[in-house]
């Protein structure tokens, strides 16, 4: 009887402990894409940091603005100096949660989720709610989402001279693979 209770307790603790883990990456991917009849513009950042608390569903992202890379040097310079003012606002962050996250339901099939929280960019914080998917594969969480962002919502001013070259809303693609974080 005692052995059974101890074994059951050990199993319970082991299961409970595994659902308390944090999952982390420094190699997350975010791309933003603007398409107009005049020009398509895209920039990619392969060094996004992200962390997921498996127990609570809390989720955070952080991306340095200067780590977004453009094909054209002048475009990258204008993006940093004129639009994002990245010397003043060096990073963009998201702090929020996967709504109603239940780690036990994650599997190797993408699961639709809703992510809610605060996106901070160019010194402006905005509450957002977006759709995404969560997949658990080989012990890692893969989070993906695609959303539209309006630069004006974050007081990013696009000069009239180039207004027609940049879409009113930018498509933002997020793709991060989070591995268990061992302290």
């Amino acid at each position: 009887m005692k052995t059974t209770i101890i074994s059951a307790l050990a199993l319970f603790l082991a299961f409970g402990a595994s659902a308390q883990d944090k999952y982390f990456t420094r190699d997350g991917y975010i791309k933003f894409y603007s398409s107009t009849p005049i020009e398509d513009i895209e920039a990619e950042n392969h060094k996004v940091t992200a962390i997921l608390d498996e127990a609570t569903g809390k989720l955070e992202f952080s991306a340095l603005i200067k780590s977004f890379e453009f094909e054209k040097a002048l475009m990258e310079e204008h993006f940093n100096e004129n639009y994002m003012e990245s010397n003043t606002f060096p990073k963009s962050t998201f702090k929020g949660e996967i709504v109603g996250f239940d780690a036990s339901k994650a599997s190797d099939k993408p699961m639709d989720v809703t992510v809610k929280g605060t996106l901070e960019m160019h010194g402006v914080s905005k509450e957002i709610t977006e759709k995404g998917t969560v997949t658990k594969k080989d012990g890692k969480y893969i989070l993906k989402s695609k959303m539209m962002v309006n630069p004006e919502d974050y007081k990013i001013e696009i000069p009239n001279t180039v207004r027609e070259k940049i879409a009113k809303e930018l498509e933002v693609t997020i793709d991060v693979t989070l591995a268990i974080f061992k302290k």
Binding site: R26, D27, K47, K58, E60, K66, E69, E76, P90, T93
Partner: protein, 142 residues
């Protein structure tokens, strides 16, 4: 006045050509740019930890040379190395993406790279552990 018109047209055409070239131009080759600073990964990270504001002013947008031990497996695309982390401490690292994928499939245990500093991503008030000093458009020196 009549003699000026062809000159004005030519000047405008040259200006347009230069403007188009500059706007379409890719990034300079990091290999052709001399590093302004050279240090170990640990020392570089420590400078940012000690004073992020001063270090940002000193290093961001500069080409810097970083040396140290390779941490973990380099990132690869189609079998070629595209990025690597350098650090002796897995909480605070230098993350470096290469301007061009490396031809070599493997790296030595200790390497030296040269790249453009994008800044330091670390926030003691967030859930995120440690911090990362980011380099872009890097090349492998040795």
């Amino acid at each position: 006045m009549k003699k000026l018109i062809p000159i004005l047209i030519l000047t405008a055409a040259i200006g347009f050509g230069i403007g188009t070239y500059l706007f379409s131009k890719g990034h300079d080759e990091t290999a052709d740019i001399e590093a302004v600073f050279s240090m170990t990964a640990d020392n570089a990270v420590q400078e940012f930890l000690d004073d992020q504001t001063a270090s940002a002013a000193k290093y961001i947008d500069q080409v810097i040379e970083i040396s140290g031990p390779v941490m973990g497996e380099p990132e690869k695309t189609d079998g070629k190395i595209t990025a690597v982390k350098i650090s002796s401490d897995d909480m605070y690292v230098v993350s470096c993406s290469f301007q061009n994928p490396l031809e070599t499939a493997e790296l030595a245990d200790n390497i030296t790279v040269k790249g453009v500093c994008s800044g330091f991503n670390g926030d003691a008030e967030s859930m995120m552990p440690g911090g990362v000093l980011e380099l872009k458009r890097a090349i492998l020196i040795k």
